[in-house]
Symmetry: C2
Subunit: 379 residues, 2 copies
């Protein structure tokens, strides 16, 4: 019936080659609407809608006809229109704050976990990567508001405390990833950074080390002081371990690596040169641990023979390097999944006060500390 409709909605490219025999749909130009389907099938729009949403109150014959027409016209309902009328966007936003040149592999892992869970829930994930130092984040948030995203996940290197505050004040459900920050509809997921760092330090201590360099990420500007970053947490774990073993914490053993390899390299080298009594390094990221290893070699010393090194994250490269890096494993993918689950929970259940998630961080013993027991991961 009404064949002109078929004509109206031809495939975008009438098929210059044999390819288009497949007859696949879409094309962002102009597509058939639910009304076209209704007309072509000789029914009303609501009938089509009922078929589409499987109300199950349409006669088998009608349904069949409708579906057939949808097929023929390559009809795909507009999510845009549906979202508008449903007053729901089904969109989650992932905001990644990164520092230029710092492609932290860990983020990628988390992102994979996030996407798979988002998809499973029938949502869409919008990805935004911003430079941490870019002042235009307000613009980015405005776009979230306009897009009516239902939830935000925020991850990365030191987003300004103002960003966090604004997200919280926005009232949009949010889950911070590895950023301990809470609010009415805001929570976070993180690794057990304190325990992880403690375990790392204890591992070194158990091997006899007492003077352990601590390579921190950033030297926090004052605006962050109230913000308990992962950096702070790991520092606590480190100090706890020292205390538990009667070792006094020496602030002069702390240095700043800026989360980069080169930053850690020069910082550690400087420390090693000034302190000949140091026999170990604990860097709070694997990348910085790599830098530490280079620093040791710069001084013609050996890992782990002269200086033991422990990292944090367990990125893939940790098993590639030589000697393979002993480190604290963070479960990135799981972290991503958890973030999404928690976010969806906040969205669906506004009353319920959100709960922070803390994932275990386990020690992975490889070669960089010289303690080569029972590790199948060995190179």
């Amino acid at each position: 019936m009404s064949d002109d409709v078929h004509d109206r909605w031809r495939r975008p490219e009438p098929g210059a080659d044999g390819e288009s025999g497949d007859g696949v749909p879409a094309g962002s130009i102009q597509r058939p609407t639910i009304r076209d389907i209704a007309r072509a099938a000789g029914v009303s729009v609501s009938t089509v809608s009922h078929v589409l949403n499987e109300y199950g109150d349409i006669s088998e014959e009608t349904e069949h006809r409708v579906r057939q027409v949808m097929e023929e016209l390559n009809y795909y309902p507009s999510a845009l229109a549906r979202r508008l009328v449903m007053k729901r966007s089904y969109v989650l936003q992932l905001l990644l704050f990164a520092v230029e040149g710092l492609h932290h592999p860990f983020f990628y892992e988390v992102t994979c976990g996030i996407t798979s869970e988002v998809e499973k829930a029938g949502y869409e994930l919008v990805l935004g990567v911003k430079d941490t130092r870019d002042r235009r984040w307000r613009e980015t948030l405005r776009r979230c508001y306009e897009a009516k995203v239902e939830g935000i996940m925020l991850m990365g290197t030191l987003p300004s405390a103002k960003v966090l505050a604004e997200v919280r004040a926005s009232g949009i459900p949010a889950v911070m990833i590895d950023i301990p920050f809470e609010g009415p509809r805001v929570t976070y997921v993180t690794s057990d950074n304190i325990a992880g760092a403690r375990r790392a330090a204890e591992h070194l201590i158990s091997l006899g080390h007492r003077n352990i360099i601590y390579v921190d990420g950033y030297d926090l500007p004052d605006e962050y002081t109230p913000l308990p970053t992962i950096s702070v947490a790991r520092r606590i774990g480190y100090e706890e371990a020292l205390r538990a073993h009667g070792i006094e914490f020496d602030p002069r053993l702390v240095c700043i690596g800026n989360y980069t390899q080169e930053g850690a390299r020069s910082a550690v080298r400087a420390k090693l040169e000034s302190r000949s009594d140091v026999t170990a390094v604990f860097a709070i990221s694997d990348v910085m641990a790599f830098g530490a290893m280079k620093a040791v070699r710069d001084l013609e010393r050996r890992v782990p023979g002269d200086v033991a090194v422990v990292g944090f994250d367990d990125i893939e490269a940790a098993s590639y390097v030589r000697p393979a890096l002993t480190t604290i494993k963070q479960q990135g993918e799981l972290m991503g999944r958890s973030a999404v689950c928690e976010l969806l929970r906040i969205i669906t259940n506004p009353k319920r006060s959100p709960k922070a998630t803390v994932l275990p961080a386990e020690l992975v013993v490889r070669e960089s500390c010289g303690a080569s027991r029972l590790s199948p991961q060995f190179a």
Copy 2:
């Protein structure tokens, strides 16, 4: 005027603590609409719309009043509604096909390039990561159709040829990343894989190597045969280099590493054991090159002393490993940017036939071949 409107649209949380003094907006529940603004400002909706879109035909006084009301009510126009009426989604989709456990760091780099460019263009980027072996990709594509995405970028490990064909047939503008596949509104961006591979092989040859193991990614099933993958391109470059130097190509020197470290490790070890005349390995990904290095050590031989190794990609870890990996650098971020630019071009200019982009792939000499000339990247 009309103060009840102010009451209706309070901030989500009336501010239990001092925080909300900031007065920041949004909240996905129920927000003021353009009509509310119009009412509160005592003007018509079209006036508000004109202010919003800066038509410049509104009296300064009115505009000021409207803006003030928008501010007070924390009004943010709905992108959903706008998109519906504009018949444009302003959404680009990135489809990443990955194999479980294979978190290729290179993808992350490309993604960063993509996001920054997408944002700059005022678009939104929806991210979807699918397992290559997942048969439900049709579902994923359906969601693209329903969301009326304006363009698709496709990247990753061996998406089935069917996926590519369907994307092409869909008529949605698309840019494949590192997948040489074209169509009416489909093109690709890639590195100069042939030249890169040739350069890698030539580097080895120039160092005196003649029996070079070639570590390929996958053994392609028949369905891919017509598809010129990067794998095929690199193989061509490899063979070209051999031919140019009068070395006969020996198919028995080719092995399959499945793009994983362990895969390459065992494959290369087997080859090395059976062929004592081999003095070099060219792996078409860095990760596989790492596996090759392990294989060499498994046999108590040394890199580069006994066996030289070259990789492809230049991921970050390439500079971390010891010896640092000599490899072919792909410009991931640039690749992402180029993909977006080309995609936007296809979208805005439907007539113009798209043009493939080939980015240079340069040799980065480090330590794994023993040729340590003029390289500042050295560890």
